[in-house]
C-alpha cells in the first residue's frame, strides 16, 4: 500500500468520498463538497463560454465578418432582464433562440423520428421477429391516443402497447446498469489504486 503524495489526488479522492457519504445521510461534508463543486463547475462554464465567444464570434468579427455585431448586440439584450424597465427587450434574443431551435428540431424530427421510423417498420412480415417489431410499434403508438375515450378494442391495444413499452423499459434499464457501474468502477479505481495505492 502506497498512499499518493499528490495533493490533487487527495482532493479528488476526498471529494468523491464526500459525495458517497450522502448515501448514509446528508451531512456537512457532503454539503461542502457540493458547494465547492457547483462553484468550480460554474467557473469552468464561464471560462469556456468566454473562450467559445472569442473563437466563434469575436475573432471572426475582427477578421472582417462585421455582420456578427448584430447577434452580439442581440445576445447582450438577454441581460436586460435585470433592469425592470427594459426587461421586455430580452424577449428578442429569446424569441430568436426559440424560433430557430423549434424550426431546426421540427424539420429533422419528421424525417428521422417519424418517416424514417415508419418506413423502417414496413418490413416483410415473413418472420416472427418482423411481426414483433411491427406489432410492438403499432400497439405502443396506440397507447398515445389521448383525445379518444378508451373503448373495448383500444383498451386492449393500449394495454398490449404498454406491455411492449415495459419490455423496452426493462431492456433499457438492464442495459444501463452497465454504464452506471462503470462510473463507480472509475471512481473506485481512482480511490483504491491511485489514492490509496492498493
Amino acid at each position: 500500500m502506497k498512499i499518493s503524495t499528490e495533493i490533487g489526488v487527495w482532493i479528488g479522492a476526498l471529494s468523491a468520498i464526500g459525495i458517497y457519504s450522502v448515501l448514509i445521510k446528508d451531512n456537512p461534508f457532503y454539503r461542502m463538497v457540493e458547494h465547492i463543486f457547483v462553484g468550480a463547475s460554474a467557473g469552468i462554464a464561464v471560462v469556456v463560454g468566454l473562450n467559445t465567444f472569442n473563437n466563434t464570434a469575436w475573432s471572426p468579427m475582427v477578421q472582417g465578418k462585421y455582420s456578427l455585431i448584430i447577434p452580439m448586440l442581440t445576445g447582450l439584450l438577454l441581460y436586460t432582464r435585470y433592469f425592470q424597465k427594459f426587461s421586455w427587450l430580452n424577449r428578442i434574443p429569446l424569441s430568436f433562440l426559440m424560433g430557430t431551435g423549434a424550426g431546426v428540431a421540427m424539420r429533422g424530427a419528421v424525417e428521422s423520428q417519424i418517416v424514417g421510423q415508419i418506413s423502417a417498420t414496413m418490413v416483410n412480415l415473413n418472420k416472427l421477429d418482423s411481426w414483433i417489431v411491427f406489432l410492438g410499434t403499432g400497439f405502443s403508438l396506440s397507447y398515445f391516443f389521448l383525445t379518444y375515450k378508451t373503448g373495448k378494442v383500444t383498451g386492449y391495444t393500449s394495454r398490449i402497447g404498454r406491455y411492449f413499452m415495459m419490455a423496452a423499459f426493462g431492456a433499457a434499464f438492464g442495459n444501463t446498469v452497465m454504464g452506471r457501474v462503470s462510473a463507480a468502477i472509475g471512481r473506485f479505481q481512482f480511490i483504491l489504486l491511485k489514492w490509496l495505492g492498493l
Partner: protein, 254 residues
C-alpha cells in the same frame, strides 16, 4: 426546387402542421375535444394534499432542459401546482438548471400566485437556480430534497441521467413522486423509482388537461389523427412489402 430525398418528408410535415392548424381553428370555434384521464396529472392533487397534511414543502423541478418542448410542458404543470399550493398554503420549492428556463419559471410562479390571489406568498428564494452543470444540478437538488424533507416531489420536463439520482433521493426521504419526461432513455428510471409516471407524449397534454386551452386541445386532436395515419401507413407499407411491392417505401424515400 426540392432538395433530393425530402419531398415526402416535407409533405408529411405540411400535412401534420396543416392538420394541427385546422384543428386548432376548429377547437377555437367550439369543437368539443375531451382527453382521456392521465393518472399522473390527477395524482397532483394527492401530492399537494399530502404536503398540506404533513406540513412539509413540495418540490418541483422542470428538469435539466433549456427552453425546449418538454420544459414548456413542465412549466404548464408548474402553473397548476403553484395555484394549488397557494390555495392550501403549502410551501413550494422549485429548482432550475438552465438560466433561460429560470427566467421563465420565475415568471410562471409569480403569475400563478397572482391568479390564486396571494401574490405576497411568492418567495423569490424558493425559486432556485442551481447550476447549468448536470451533476452540480443533481447534487444541488439532492441537497434540497434532504434538507427540506419534502413531502412530495414532482419532476416534469427534460431529464437526462440525473433522473434516477433525483428520484431515489426523493424516495429516500419518503416523498410521493410524480415524474414525466419525453426522453426515452430516462422513462425506465422514473417508472422504476416513482409513484406515478407521465409517459412520454402524455406530458404534452398538460396545457389541455389543466388549462383546457383550446389551442392545445385542438392540436392534441390533430396529433391523434397523425398517430392514426402513422399506423395506417405502417400497416399498408408492411402489407405491400410482404406482397412484394416496394411502392410505398419508394414513395416515402422520395
Amino acid at each position: 426546387m426540392f432538395m433530393e430525398g425530402r419531398i415526402f418528408d416535407f409533405s408529411a410535415l405540411a400535412v401534420i402542421t396543416g392538420l394541427m392548424g385546422i384543428f386548432m381553428h376548429l377547437a377555437r370555434k367550439g369543437m368539443k375535444v375531451s382527453i382521456r384521464p392521465i393518472p399522473g396529472f390527477e395524482a397532483i392533487d394527492e401530492a399537494v394534499g399530502r404536503a398540506a397534511e404533513m406540513g412539509k414543502p413540495l418540490h418541483f423541478t422542470p428538469g435539466f432542459g433549456g427552453l425546449v418542448a418538454a420544459t414548456f410542458a413542465g412549466l404548464e404543470v408548474l402553473g397548476h401546482v403553484t395555484k394549488l399550493t397557494a390555495k392550501y398554503d403549502v410551501r413550494l420549492i422549485v429548482t432550475v438548471s438552465q438560466p433561460e428556463t429560470f427566467a421563465v419559471t420565475e415568471q410562471v410562479m409569480r403569475q400563478a400566485y397572482l391568479e390564486a390571489g396571494k401574490p405576497e406568498a411568492f418567495k423569490p428564494e424558493d425559486c432556485r437556480f442551481i447550476s447549468t452543470d448536470q451533476w452540480a444540478y443533481a447534487s444541488g437538488v439532492i441537497g434540497v430534497l434532504f434538507r427540506e424533507q419534502v413531502a412530495s416531489n414532482i419532476m416534469i420536463g427534460q431529464f437526462a441521467a440525473e433522473a434516477l439520482i433525483l428520484a431515489e433521493a426523493g424516495n429516500t426521504v419518503g416523498a410521493i413522486q410524480i415524474a414525466g419526461t419525453t426522453n426515452a432513455y430516462q422513462i425506465p428510471f422514473f417508472v422504476v423509482a416513482c409513484d406515478y409516471v407521465i409517459l412520454g407524449d402524455e406530458m404534452f397534454a398538460a396545457g389541455a388537461h389543466f388549462a383546457e386551452n383550446e389551442f392545445h386541445l385542438g392540436s392534441l386532436r390533430a396529433e391523434d389523427i397523425v398517430k392514426a395515419l402513422c399506423i395506417g401507413f405502417m400497416v399498408a407499407g408492411a402489407l405491400l412489402t410482404t406482397a412484394g411491392s416496394v411502392a410505398l417505401t419508394t414513395l416515402m424515400a422520395k
